[in-house]
Symmetry: C2
């Protein structure tokens, strides 16, 4: 059930509150926009994230001001937006985007060592499924330098727009093409690190990602 704060008020028909939809959007995105307030000023910063069960994790340097502020339990808002297409109407006014977005309200808490390791695995797997088993695991120094913050998926909602433009009936006869230009995130050919030792090829996991049909597989 939506809370009073997460109920979608503009275009309420686009508001969705079931966890299945919310989770699918969260699990497809790569970057979240995290909002918090400091001295009355809102800040919105892009950040990697990963969902594990009922928690969305973000992480940052132990030295980061945002991480310190957020660990203190201040109010936060985490938003993930997937852009699916440009909606071209016959009238300027009815132009729009097709998108799927999720808004999570709550507070962040700094998680303990075991949850930190789980979250770091989830971050790595979000980037390339299968990557965690290929790479060197975090050592103690790295774990100490990273703070992982968790936000519970308690107060959250999704908003989705899909389909064709909605023009006024009077505009339907205008000689203007109308429809959608679909957009997707496409991966290019992997670029090796200039310091890569000779003879090391991208793993199957990396190849699967980069030759995928667009939206990340996985």
């Amino acid at each position: 059930m939506p809370s009073k704060r997460t109920r979608v008020r503009r275009a309420p028909a686009r508001g969705i509150y079931d966890r299945e939809t919310i989770d699918a959007i969260l699990d497809e995105g790569l970057v979240a926009h995290l909002g918090f307030v400091e001295g009355g000023q809102p800040y919105v910063i892009p950040t990697l994230y990963a969902r594990v069960g009922d928690v969305v994790y973000v992480h940052g340097s132990a030295a980061s001001r945002a991480v310190r502020e957020l660990s203190g339990g201040i109010a936060a808002c985490l938003t993930v937006t997937l852009v699916d297409g440009i909606v071209l109407a016959r009238s300027a006014f009815n132009h729009s985007m097709n998108y799927r977005s999720v808004v999570v309200l709550g507070t962040c808490r700094r998680v303990g060592p075991r949850e930190t390791e789980e979250a770091l695995e989830a971050f790595t797997e979000r980037l390339v499924p299968g990557r965690w088993d290929e790479v060197r695991a975090p050592n103690r120094k790295e774990l100490k330098a990273t703070h992982v913050l968790g936000m519970d998926l308690e107060e959250c909602s999704a908003k989705v727009r899909g389909g064709p433009p909605v023009d006024d009936a009077a505009d339907h006869d205008l000689p203007v093409w109308a429809g959608e230009i679909p957009l997707r995130t496409a991966a290019g050919t992997p670029v090796p690190d200039p310091k890569l030792a000779e003879g090391i090829q991208p793993s199957e996991a990396v190849e699967a990602w980069s030759s995928g049909p667009g939206r990340r597989p996985g």
Copy 2:
């Protein structure tokens, strides 16, 4: 010059303050994340936007709570993030994203009729360059239903990460592929509105966009 609030503190070498870089990022993105505070709670909402000179415009329904709040001159933060690639290191810890982001701090003001029309043209042209001249212009009813808000580009900064992963020297000999998977926004084949009258083809402007090499041309 960055203000105390926009100076990039984490990874300061990634902070960029020249307007040329900031404008280029703003002019490439399609969706901004706009943050504001209501009752102590930050909200972050995705929104279309357009830059014209020294102002970033957003718009919304005259009936929208967010638009009403923001018109009142409360503090706001507008963030645009372009995701350029996934950075795969030999260690889990050094995985990252390549990205370019801009943060604009300030307040929104509701703009007058002339600036509103200019902004609506800019929104339409942001979606597809050349589109404004193809479509029906906004009528008085539509102009009344839309509020355009402007944020001055006074307090703003960019943050950019590019290039290969940065691994610890001790990890360079690990037999793990490292590098970048480039990402871009790709447009698919235009999907006509089911209500489109027969024989109307996508304009050159629409075709140019959707057959472009990835990132929107223009």
